[in-house]
Amino acid sequence: MKITNVAIIIACKIISKAITLFNIGSGSTWPGHIALALNKNFIKEQIENNKKLKVILIAGTNGKTTTAKLTQYLLEKNSIRVFQNEEGANLLNGITSTMIKYSNIFGQLTYETAIFEVDENSLPLILKEIKHPAAIVILNLFRDQLDRYGEVNTIALKWEQSLSDLDKNTFLFLNGDDPQVYYLSKNLKTKNFFFGIDKSFMKKKDIPHDVDSIYCPKCSSKLVYNAISYSHLGDYYCAKCGLKPDRISTFSDLKIKYPLFGKYNIYNINAAMLLVSTVFDIKFEKIEKYIEGFKPAFGRQEIVKFQGRNLIILLSKNPTGFNQSIEALSESSIKNKNALIVLNDRIPDGRDISWIWDVDFENIIEKVNKIYISGDRTFDLAIRFKYISGNLETRKINEDLYSLGSNIFVIPDLKNSVKIATDRAAENETLFILATYSGMLDIRKIVNGKKLI
């Protein structure tokens, strides 16, 4: 079998080169597809053949890419050799491709650690192949693409079942502020740790609209919240059965300079800190000082220069993610903000766009000078804005430009919307782009291509 896998790796490396060379598709999933077709036990056997490799799995609805990238950065700063899967290549194919890419031609993975961000539905599948991961992080669980992932309770149930097969050698890091994620720990053999954020960051008192788990995961009574950080994350307990999380690491006593805005990123950073310090036994001072220098991934608050204007792209793919992006935009100290909001309904975005009605877009209106709306479902988003901004007059200026009042512009063609939003911006204005997944990828193409139309 070993020889077969070596042959597969060599063949797939050649195929991967060819794909890149002839520019005929993404090299990040095809090799894995082929390898698994030739040997469905490829992952299992490669993990078995590289016993020293520590595998870290990062799961959750929001924050996987940032947390994975930050973990890799912190480990590398501490001289640990790491590889990880490319953003989005987080199904079995993508993970297999990544393993092929980093294997040498003898089939060996000569790294200390592998970090795989894992899609919600794929976590149980991966755990069938990788039975002894060193660590698993579960960041949160929100409704996301219900047409593809199903309901959050279904996902929680699947996760719970697959986690119960793990033994005591696996470290499990769970978000203690998320009731359903916290409760996953109840019957497991793993070594469980919990992260959260300091209560001083929890400024909300009323339960917001974009919640999924405000009923007790144990007894189904409504939970009591002392304070809320966002969505259903917060300081909660059950008055009926007494469920209350404890031992939550918040790193409140450290003076961390957080390099990214938004509360969601404090969770991501605290999760990575807890993992790196616990699993690799690295002291906090060797972690803390590097955090400020972390550079985010594309679409995660990275600042891009485009035609002389600053763009900040915030991937916003579900109600909670969108509300958090809006909060991040509001809290950012940057002055003179405009926003371009992109809504697509392709497979990676989810085909159902109902969730835009669970986003509190009213919070963005006061914070920006102008709003541009675009994407495959431009008009649905425009209707959402029509209903929050008072009695605004809708005008069709031409086939490709509508206005809603004097500050909101509806531009179905994405290229055109980027062009108009940057052409009309003053030099000191920053354009925040809030986009669903495929919208973000399209924006990346437009911005990297530099030229418009």
């Binding site: 109902s354 009605w357 209707i383 809708t394």
Partner: protein, 272 residues
């Protein structure tokens, strides 16, 4: 006729449990539309903690869809506490909109994927069965035609003097998104809400979508349904005014360019 001040209470059933698919949008549209028509409207949230009499104090009822666990909690509350009042409101012509899980509750029973029978409120003569986990959920964009609803408004026209712009004749297509495991089958002599043009509807077989009973509509269309299909919001409001005041409210012609374009995006995708 003397001008009177209209006042409507919109009863939103189980807002924090049955609200998984952007259903808040329907409430936002109903309230805003009332305001534009000069009707004072209040939204009353009727959850587990509220008394069942609040259902009888509502002039329009709305209930959305949810996930299985939340549905269990709600089903218990409906069967034990609020179901009778919901039945009498609907029987007394209070207009209502019941989406997805809410629609299924109002039927006779729901048979789950593993064969368990869950009693419904038997307000609508229909039943729903989930054919098991090996069958696909019915998921995707849906386009329906609402000739039957137009018929109902014509009835209203006979009863009162209604402005012709009140008639739903806007190409009579509604668009939405459906996502349900259960297949719903209507009883004999039951009027469906609409006819399926693209998508699955009640059961993916007989081309019916939803139910129309008295002034209540049960449907699988979320999206949410009302923002794009504004005609339906106006229809529910008119029915509510007629039921409560025995008057017909004037509907002004409005600018619906965004709604029409939004619908056309989906219609063009499947029907051109």
């Amino acid at each position: 006729m003397k001008k009177i001040d209209y006042y409507l209470t919109i009863g939103w059933l189980y807002p924090d449990l049955m609200s998984t698919y952007g259903d808040r949008g329907n409430i936002i549209v109903l309230s805003k539309r009332c305001e534009e028509l000069g009707i004072k409207a209040d939204v009353k949230r009727i959850g587990l903690e509220q008394d069942k009499k609040e259902i009888l104090e509502s002039d329009i009822l709305f209930m959305g869809g949810a996930q299985d666990k939340q549905q269990e909690i709600v089903n218990k509350d409906l069967l034990e506490k609020k179901g009778n009042n919901l039945k009498s409101a609907i029987e007394n012509n209070v207009p209502g909109l019941f989406i997805c899980g809410a629609y299924q509750f109002l039927g006779r029973y729901y048979k789950t994927a593993d064969g368990m029978m869950i009693d419904g409120l038997s307000i609508f003569d229909l039943y729903t069965e989930n054919p098991g986990i090996h069958n696909n959920r019915l998921i995707g964009d849906i386009i329906v035609r609402i000739d039957d609803l137009r018929f109902k408004i014509n009835d209203l026209k006979k009863e009162g003097n209604i402005h012709k712009s009140n008639l739903i004749n806007h190409k009579s297509l509604l668009v939405g998104f459906e996502n349900h495991g259960g297949r719903t089958y209507l009883g004999k002599n039951i009027e469906p809400f609409a006819k399926v043009i693209h998508g699955y509807g009640n059961n993916g077989g007989d081309k019916t979508e939803g139910i129309f009973y008295k002034n209540a509509i049960g449907t699988y269309l979320h999206g949410p349904i009302l923002p794009k299909n504004w005609e339906l919001a106006d229809f529910l409001i008119q029915k509510a005014i007629f039921t409560k005041y025995n008057r017909v409210v004037e509907i002004k012609d409005e600018n619906h360019v965004l709604e029409d374009e939004a619908k056309q995006v989906i219609v063009r995708r499947y029907l051109s």
